[in-house]
């Protein structure tokens, strides 16, 4: 009866970060996932630690979240981040025009940017398109997707959270009064089914959030929107390169180990569990990527893959806001004991966890404030050595 028990479904970015937050606030936490850490959308991000510039014009709420969280993550989890900065570059008149609203937007969202001459930009990144017309230095960064999540998971484990990987949520257990009191789980390693009881269930399954919520008859307006990314076998740049224009296809190039990754496209699907990588999207990435960095045209492809973003709200594709939302299903569907967190993006994982944990604490009458802004995360490798 001492500690409240929270079950988190999903061990991606939001799941591990929420586990970390709740563990710090004194919860007993059990994280379940049908696969290993980050086997869904989280693992497959291109790894851009957004400064918010991308959203500064049309989606300032997201932009502010990004810049704040970007600065925070650099401090609390440097082991998974390359703080090398980024560039927004203009290649044509339309880009230049967008530059004006971009500057205003960044100012409004307190994103520190610095305009540099194309010559200076080429000095910093010699492989950029020499025909660029304008360039802005921004505080972007890159992160290693799996290791970012593992750092949160390791710290959560250190604070007592338990991780049950290869454990699938088969259904939600309802008490007859419409309250979720646990999860029917299947341990996929041993093929054994059992019940996991908890005081609250957090649905942190991102693009799959709708499927889990539906188990309790609740609804989450998440629109899974996959995008294709292509990794090329040469590290052309040290900084993340963004096209200075409205967010569009293939307008980001992110350095990752000895590669660069060009992303992304955007389409809609019905079956989330297997989304094919379409060749025409791969070609589009090559075309668009080569506009930013001509050398990409002759580089060898190392990997082609896709990830399914969890977009929320009414908009279509790119017009949807990239902010996140936490649903207390008591309020939205009159289903108690279930909270869903979805939307958002990797950069804002900590903020998403804070919001979720706030909602959970309020529901359970726990009065502990969030401390994740100040807690240094431990090495991602300790995820494996911390007792489970």
């Amino acid at each position: 009866m001492s500690k409240p028990h929270a079950i988190i479904v999903g061990a991606g970015f939001t799941g591990t970060a929420t586990a970390h937050d709740l563990a710090l606030r004194g919860f007993d936490v059990t994280v379940i996932d049908r696969g290993d850490i980050c086997n869904g959308t989280s693992g497959r991000t291109h790894g851009l630690l957004h400064c918010g510039g991308r959203y500064a014009v049309k989606d300032q709420e997201s932009a502010i979240e990004c810049i704040d969280e970007n600065m925070l993550l650099r401090k609390i989890v440097p082991q998974a981040i390359e703080p090398n900065g980024g560039l927004f570059i203009a290649l044509n008149e339309s880009d230049l025009q967008y530059g004006e609203v971009f500057i205003e937007g960044c100012e409004a969202c307190h994103i520190p940017i610095e305009e540099i001459t194309p010559q200076k930009a080429l000095q910093l990144e010699p492989n950029l398109n020499p025909g660029m017309l304008a360039a802005f230095l921004v505080p972007d960064g890159t992160f290693d997707p799996l290791r970012l999540a593992l750092s949160f998971a390791a710290t959560a484990k250190k604070n007592g959270a338990k991780f049950r990987i290869y454990t699938e949520a088969k259904s939600l257990i309802l008490d007859g009064k419409g309250t979720v009191v646990g999860v029917d789980i299947l341990d996929r390693a041993s093929n054994k089914q059992s019940e996991l009881r908890g005081d609250i269930v957090v649905n942190a399954t991102g693009a799959w959030a709708g499927e889990i919520a539906e188990m309790a008859g609740a609804d989450v307006p998440v629109k899974p929107t996959p995008g294709v990314m292509v990794a090329y076998e040469q590290r052309f740049v040290q900084r993340a390169i963004n096209r200075l224009n409205k967010p569009g296809d293939g307008d980001i190039v992110v350095p990752q180990r000895r590669m660069v990754i060009v992303g992304t496209s955007s389409f809609e699907v019905s079956d989330l569990d297997y989304v094919p990588v379409f060749e025409d999207h791969v070609k589009l990435m090559l075309e668009r990527g080569a506009e930013l960095i001509p050398g990409i045209r002759n580089a060898k492809v190392r990997g082609k893959y896709m990830a399914t973003r969890p977009l929320i709200g009414g908009g279509m594709g790119r017009s949807s806001a990239r902010t996140f939302k936490c649903y207390d299903h008591k309020e939205t569907d009159n289903v108690d004991g279930l909270v869903t967190i979805t939307g958002g993006k990797a950069t804002t994982l900590r903020a998403m966890a804070e919001k979720t944990a706030d909602v959970v604490c309020e529901k359970l009458g726990v009065n502990t404030p969030c401390t994740t802004k100040d807690v240094q995360l431990i090495s991602y490798r300790q995820y494996y050595s911390q007792p489970n």
Binding site: P83, N84, A189, N191, Q256, M259, R302, Y384
Partner: protein, 242 residues
């Protein structure tokens, strides 16, 4: 352009308490897809009980190492075309020398803990991260660029190493390479770890680690380099005894 192939996936299966066996799955694939795509399709459309590790799908995380037709491969970047032919078979097994959690999923705990114990750094400034053939025009202050270093901790080298097959006390290629990359000069305490019966001297120069490494680490070369460093250091000590 490319025609689809009909192939058979022969997947090693083993749940807790079971003896290992193979299950076969026939499917149509585009040969320019990756082996991991085929494995993922088995799970998505044919057999939901299949367990396997994967995360980034672009050779950054190191989760999807498996043995494909008896050779250790990072399946997310291994083309089906390179491993079989139309009408052929892909034999998929878990990595060797790691405890199996279920089916193709193995427990990487020891590898990660040992990499931690040699302080292998995942994020390094660019010059220390040994980029071969860097752009010709790098500026002088490249030192400021931090980059995620090359070892992706996938364990392929441990699976391929004949010395690692019989003793789990041998540190193994990835760990020794991690120690070398971290630097004995910078971290003299590492000497005690790598210069012992379970360290560099247990390598028998099979070079399998380097042959299977998907990520430019070249562990064999690094182990050789550690040996030379240690022997040099020992001679220096021998003649400078206080």
């Amino acid at each position: 352009m490319s025609q689809n192939w009909n192939i058979t996936l022969k997947v090693s299966r083993q749940k807790e308490g079971e003896t290992p066996h193979f299950d076969e799955y026939k499917m149509e694939v585009n040969p320019d897809e990756y082996v991991l795509d085929a494995v993922e399709r088995v799970w998505a459309f044919m057999d939901r009980t299949l367990c396997y590790r994967h995360a980034c799908h672009h050779s950054t995380c190191g989760a999807c190492g498996m043995r494909v037709n008896d050779v250790e491969k990072l399946t997310c970047i291994t083309y089906i075309r390179d491993m079989t032919h139309d009408g052929g078979t892909l034999k998929i097994e878990p990595l060797r020398n790691f405890p199996i959690i279920s089916d193709l999923a193995v427990d990487m705990g020891t590898l990660y803990s040992r990499l931690e114990s040699v302080g292998a750094r995942s994020v390094l400034p660019a010059p220390e991260a040994e980029i071969e053939n860097p752009p010709a025009t790098w500026s002088a202050d490249d030192g400021q660029y931090i980059r995620l270093a090359d070892c992706i901790e996938c364990g392929l080298c441990i699976s391929a190493c004949p010395s690692a097959a019989t003793s789990d006390e041998y540190l193994g290629p990835a760990i020794l390479a991690g120690a070398q990359a971290n630097g004995l000069k910078r971290n003299p305490e590492l000497l005690a770890l790598v210069d012992c019966e379970h360290g560099v001297w247990r390598c028998h120069s099979a070079f399998e680690c380097t042959a299977v490494c998907p990520s430019f680490v070249d562990p064999a070369r690094r182990i050789m380099d550690l040996r030379t460093q240690i022997i040099k250091e020992r001679f220096t000590r021998l003649f400078h005894k206080a």
